[in-house]
């Protein structure tokens, strides 16, 4: 502020100098005849009102400077700064949201991958289990079928043995009857059976 007053007084001083200097300017204006109607030529060169103009210029400019420096400029600067801050903050927020979204996306992808892996493991386990179960059941079935087959074989063998034994009895009876008929000899059952068995051994 002290500098401003110094400037003001300096300008007044200089203006006084010009005031004195332009005393001749007035007559120049008249000589050239720029303004014949007016008595003083160009009104700008009439020093009568110089002090008043300088005084009011300094007063009005000083008032205007005070008003602008104190209220006007800070207000506009504040608005511009607020806007700048707001834009920067919004951009920051957008960047944060973006980072968060990206993090969420990565987390989501990780979870999906994890879930897929888990599902695959579950599936594999289930498949394994089912396979094992199937194999076990197959083996069971195989075993029971085998048993049934062997049972059946045993039954067949037994039936054949029985049939053969029956056939032997028939053969003994037939041979006793045949001997009785042919030679009239009654052969004992034991002997006939031994003979039949003998004959069978020879045939075999």
């Amino acid at each position: 502020m002290r500098r401003t007053t110094a400037l003001a007084s300096a300008s007044v001083l200089l203006a006084d100098v010009t005031l004195a200097a332009t005393g001749g300017g007035e007559s120049v204006g008249e000589e050239v005849g720029v303004e014949p109607q007016a008595s003083v030529g160009m009104p700008q060169l009439d020093p009568t009102h110089f002090p008043s103009q300088i005084f009011w210029l300094i007063v009005s400019f000083a008032v205007m400077y005070w008003l602008f420096a104190r209220f006007g400029v800070p207000r506009v600067a504040d608005i511009l700064e607020t806007r700048q801050d707001r834009i920067a903050a919004d951009l920051d927020r957008a960047a944060t949201f973006r980072r968060e979204a990206e993090a969420a996306m990565a987390e989501h992808e990780r979870l999906v991958a994890e879930a897929q892996a888990k599902a695959r493991a579950h599936l594999d386990a289930a498949l394994e289990r089912v396979k094992a179960e199937a194999a076990r059941q197959e083996a069971d079935l195989e075993r029971s079928l085998q048993r049934q087959i062997s049972d059946a074989d045993a039954r067949i063998a037994q039936a054949r043995d029985e049939a053969l034994r029956a056939l032997e009895d028939v053969a003994v009876d037939v041979s006793r009857a045949a001997v009785d008929r042919l030679i009239g000899v009654e052969v004992a059952t034991d002997e006939a059976a031994a003979a039949v068995a003998n004959a069978r051994r020879e045939a075999a």
């Binding site: 500098r3 110094a6 400037l7 003001a8 300096a10 300008s11 200089l14 203006a15 010009t18 720029v34 303004e35 014949p36 109607q37 007016a38 160009m42 009104p43 700008q44 060169l45 009439d46 009568t48 009102h49 110089f50 002090p51 008043s52 103009q53 300088i54 005084f55 009011w56 210029l57 300094i58 009005s60 400019f61 008032v63 205007m64 400077y65 008003l67 602008f68 420096a69 209220f71 006007g72 400029v73 207000r75 506009v76 600067a77 504040d78 608005i79 511009l80 607020t82 806007r83 707001r86």
Partner: protein
Amino acid sequence: MAGPLEQFMIKPIIPLPEIAGLDISFTNSSLWMGIAVIASYSLVMVGTRHAALVPGRLQSVVEIAYEFVADMVRDNAGKEGMKYFPIIFTLFMFILFGNMLGMFPFGFTFTSHIIVTFTMAICVFVGVTVIGFMKHGVGYLGLFAPPGAPKAILPVLVPIEILSYCVRPISLSVRLFCNMVAGHTMLKVFAGFAVALGALGIAPLAIAVAITGLEFVIAFLQAYIFTVLTCIYLHDALHMH
């Protein structure tokens, strides 16, 4: 009919007692300076009264003006120049409103007075020189000997540099003053023709309309030039070369 220069007449409105032998009466010039202050300050304050995040039309005008001057200071005076932004913004708005208010009928263009532009220019000159010496001390005198210049031509170069430096306030003030005076005088002259020529006056009238458009451009351009040169001088003071 009033002559083309009558629009520049200073008319006291409220006579004030002399102070130290100087007449400081409140004149039409003072009135329009006051109007410029109130109008520019009102524009800024009314424009930003909602402090909207998404600016309306008036707020956009204020913000564009602010950014325009801020860019100008940054580009021409560098980052350190932003310390002086309030005074440069005030300077720009004051000259811009002074020029623009002069375009209103019955308005008065206080920037069309050499004493006003010269006072502003000398303040800029003295202020910038003081900043230069405060920042660089006696080394600021090195501004008059550009680096890289051969020693042999220094005796010629230094006086030229000093002269061109000292002529700054004159060129700065005369440029603004002449532009304002010339444009307004020309407008008045053509308007006078339009009246004097009667039906044929349509031609000068058309020219006057065209000049009016041109004058609006000049009003802005001269405010810009004054401010941008101030920034460049400030750059010299802050960074020397």
